[in-house]
Symmetry: C2
């Protein structure tokens, strides 16, 4: 029988892999992520980092008014939890494919503003409902209270991951 507590393992001398949180996170994330990546790439020719940029820009562009300036690579990196290297590459590819438009920032010429082109906005609008449908499909059968608990745990893990590492390396 399988131990059912992902966060409370059983005994001290052994470790049941399928109750080990990092393992389970890896497996489930890989399954979800890969399914979605296939959707992006097969239907829209978009990679995951590219999607994150589209999502950030689509969201901000709609929220910002008509003279919304766009987002810099730095903004996108923070918003999408990506390194600046990945953002630079993905953005360059999207600009080349005319999905993004890049405009120089006269006030600080190191950076530039990116926003969705009309084509990019079209792709964004096509992907969003599919992404929602995907998420709904995944969530179907999960109770509201479980969903909320899950959300709390994810939020907690996000904060805890950094400090857990620090704590463990300390007393090594």
């Amino acid at each position: 029988m399988v131990n059912s507590h992902a966060l409370r393992p059983s005994d001290g001398a052994t470790l049941q892999l399928d109750t080990f949180l990092p393992y389970r996170l890896n497996v489930v994330t890989q399954a979800v992520s890969q399914a979605l990546a296939r959707l992006y790439s097969e239907e829209f020719g978009i990679s995951v980092p590219e999607w994150r940029i589209l999502a950030a820009l689509g969201e901000a562009q709609r929220a910002g008014g008509p003279d919304w300036p766009g987002m810099t690579a730095r903004d996108l990196a923070r918003h999408g939890s990506m390194g600046k290297v990945m953002v630079s590459r993905a953005a360059a590819a999207l600009v080349q494919r005319k999905i993004l438009v890049r405009k120089a920032n006269a006030a600080d010429r190191r950076e530039s503003f990116l926003h969705l082109s009309r084509k990019g906005a079209g792709i964004y609008m096509a992907i969003v409902p599919r992404a929602h449908a995907f998420q709904e499909q995944l969530a179907r059968g999960i109770s509201a209270s479980d969903a909320q608990a899950f959300d709390r745990v994810v939020r907690h893990l996000m904060k805890a991951a950094g400090s857990a590492e620090a704590a463990l390396l300390e007393d090594a």
Copy 2:
């Protein structure tokens, strides 16, 4: 303000990236996984796939009696959710470092049995408490009921990921 429901996004035309489940899973898993990977590699010189093999063998070796035969690469691949390619490579590296011992199976000479050497068992015994401590550190502050709910959701997502992809590609 941040939308707090990871599994129930807000409106149809936009998608808030930080409420999108695959994104959140990716980010949290990456944080957790990378923290742990650093621990394995810096202190024990073990990669994540190698750790999965150690964990599977350590667990089974302890459960099985003295004439437990070992596990085949195929067993390890299934148990650790890895492709046979990864298992083959990781196992070869571990055998070379004398952490695993490989014994031919006379009954079916295509496969062979792997088990932990004394050295391997030592490493396993050193890692397990650290892994438990890591998990406990992560879980500290999570209520028992949230942990159970989280477990149910992870389990659900694992099953749902495959079918969600199928459902979405169907009506494309």
